[in-house]
């Protein structure tokens, strides 16, 4: 089970998070990238998540919010088959990517992940040089010419707003960078393989507010080139940068005290934060959750 440690920081009682309604009301109807239908995720016999039905649209930022243990990360990882590497994990229901069932037997998880990249909660650069970190993905995909790689490395680092900080020390180890720089390096590394979708699993939870602001700014820039799905504990973050928001919560089975995450509500972010249709969403975003 992927558990997250920090508690959500709700705003003061009864106070709403402000969303610029005019800008947010114009979320365009772009093509559907992911079509999830009644998705369930099991770890062994334990059902961690049930009943997730939602459509994620292209070139938008979709945020997954909800309390700890509600299955946000679990659902996110089912979108690029990261559960395959966990023994006993299993996905039921349908996850369609441009209409293709991601869990069909002929689908290769490697091919899926090449198109759907992921940035993790904790920055996880390889213990290699900054250059080799970025060049890793392109090399795996068969690009080996030095000139080609140089171009990709510069372009990716510029995309992640990191180029000016590291251009003179590309041969240095990535482990010598600060946490915020490492996370932007991980974003650059993901961008370098030119995926269509970038999944982000609480990318800012280990970062200070300044580094967080940079990553959010980066997400808004990358939106034009990629579809972004972000899991976050920070409701302000979801309100600030996402177009659509999915609210998850935990249901407790009173018979055996088992907790299962489920999707409560999915809508445009402005709607979720101003006029949610479910009482549980309302309680969570106004801090009356509990």
């Amino acid at each position: 089970m992927i558990a997250t440690v920090e508690p959500p920081r709700p705003p003061p009682q009864g106070q709403r998070i402000l969303v610029d309604r005019k800008a947010a009301a114009q979320v365009p109807d772009t093509p559907v990238v992911f079509d999830c239908e009644n998705v369930e995720v099991f770890y062994g016999t334990f059902r961690a998540v049930r009943g997730v039905t939602l459509k994620i649209q292209a070139n938008q930022i979709t945020a997954f919010i909800g309390p700890s243990g509600c299955g946000k990360t679990t659902v996110l990882r089912s979108l690029n088959r990261m559960h395959d590497v966990i023994p006993g994990a299993r996905v039921a229901g349908k996850v369609r990517y441009h209409g293709v069932d991601l869990y069909a037997p002929e689908v290769s998880a490697t091919e899926v992940r090449r198109r759907i990249g992921m940035v993790f909660q904790k920055p996880n650069p390889f213990p290699k040089s900054i250059y080799d970190n970025i060049a890793f993905g392109p090399r795996v995909n068969g690009i080996s010419g030095k000139a080609d790689l140089d171009v990709i490395v510069e372009k990716s680092l510029r995309s992640a707003a990191l180029w000016d900080e590291v251009k003179d020390r590309l041969k240095n180890s990535a482990l010598g960078m600060s946490g915020g720089q490492q996370q932007r390096l991980c974003i650059a590394r993901t961008v370098a393989v030119e995926p269509e979708v970038v999944l982000m699993d609480e990318p800012c939870s280990a970062l200070d507010p300044i580094a967080t602001a940079r990553i959010e700014e980066l997400m808004r820039e990358l939106k034009s080139r990629f579809t972004i799905v972000i899991v976050t504990h920070n409701m302000q973050q979801a309100a600030r940068c996402s177009d659509r928001t999915a609210f998850f919560t935990t249901e407790v089975d009173s018979k055996n005290d088992r907790r299962t995450g489920t999707l409560v509500e999915y809508d445009q972010t402005s709607k979720i934060f101003s006029a949610p249709s479910d009482e549980r969403t309302e309680n969570y975003i106004t801090g009356r959750f509990g």
């Binding site: 690029n80 990261m82 590497v85 023994p87 998880a109 490697t110 091919e111 899926v112 992940r113 090449r114 198109r115 990249g117 992921m118 993790f120 904790k122 996880n124 650069p125 390889f126 213990p127 290699k128 040089s129 890793f136 993905g137 795996v140 995909n141 240095n172 180890s173 482990l175 010598g176 991980c186 590394r189 993901t190 393989v193």
Partner: protein, 297 residues
């Protein structure tokens, strides 16, 4: 409560306690243990160096190049063939056991995991660690030496059998220490499992794998019993890996130390010092090489 109500400054000095006493007792015990462990090590080094250094470096580099005197009571230098033999036998064993051991560990940790076959292999490997080296020598004698005669390669086979479980065990431990986040990072970029192992997991575990392998090599270089069965005891140079009796430093130490002639005993001490130096140099070279590969922060 007002600020002025604090009149006496708090006493922050350490108070005598049972905890502090326990700390002192255990720290002393640990220090004692370090000394206890260091005494035999220093004693061994001292006796080898003090008794071997004159013969080893007296007519430098004669001791390292000249052949071993056929008549063992004749004084004078010569361990060249044994140095070459040790390099051939240990080098051969390394070439066999280290790649095989790393491949085995990769299978056990990355593919077999807790499957029945992997558990069987792991169990067998543990059992193999406990087999006495003389039994391993006997095994090679029966399966190889009886058919093909004495050779450096027979000795390499015997030492490889001894090294293999050590390399498997230490490499598997090192693979376990590679953070799963690194694998996830590679997978998320569309990397296949085999490529992830080759380009992320093994490089990350390399320093540990090198250390484990060096330990196995150092242990094998000093083995005597299996070589007596498989290598023989030549006194002249034999650069052939697969044919004719060869010799090794450990075998020469054993033979010469058993001799009643002072000249031979002197050569045994010098050969012992040579073996220590050889192991030291190999370790140093391998460590430098690994450090070169690892990036500076």
């Amino acid at each position: 409560m007002t600020a002025s109500s604090i009149t006496n400054p708090p006493d922050l000095r350490a108070r005598p306690s049972w905890r502090a006493t326990k700390n002192t007792i255990l720290m002393t015990a640990m220090g004692g243990a370090v000394v206890l462990v260091a005494i035999p090590l220093i004693a061994v080094l001292w006796s080898v160096v003090s008794r071997g250094i004159v013969m080893t470096f007296a007519q430098f580099p004669a001791f390292f190049t000249e052949a071993i005197p056929v008549v063992s009571r004749r004084p004078g230098p010569g361990m060249g063939p044994a140095i070459l033999g040790t390099l051939l036998v240990t080098g051969g064993a390394t070439v066999i056991a280290v790649p095989l051991g790393i491949l085995g560990a990769v299978y056990l940790h990355e593919y077999g995991q807790s499957g029945t076959f992997a558990r069987l292999v792991r169990f067998m490997s543990t059992v193999m660690t406990g087999v006495p080296s003389v039994v391993m020598g006997l095994f090679v004698y029966l399966t190889w030496t009886l058919a093909f005669g004495y050779s450096a390669f027979g000795g390499a086979l015997a030492l490889a059998c001894l090294m293999l479980p050590v390399v498997i065990g230490s490499t598997e431990q090192m693979l376990k220490l590679v953070p799963p986040q690194l694998r996830e990072a590679a997978y998320a970029l569309g990397t296949t499992k085999s490529r992830t192992i080759l380009t992320v997991v093994l490089p990350a575990a390399l320093p540990g794998i090198v250390s484990g392998s060096l330990l196995a090599i150092a242990r094998a270089a000093g083995e005597t019993a299996p070589l007596l069965f498989a290598v023989g005891a030549a006194t002249a140079y034999n650069p052939h890996l697969f044919s004719e009796a060869n010799t090794a430093l450990s075998v020469q130490i054993f033979g010469n130390a058993n001799s009643s002639f002072p000249a031979a005993q002197e050569r045994a001490w010098a050969a012992a010092l040579t073996l220590v130096l050889l192991t030291f140099i190999v370790t140093l070279v391998a460590r430098t090489f690994t450090a070169r590969l690892a990036l500076k922060r």
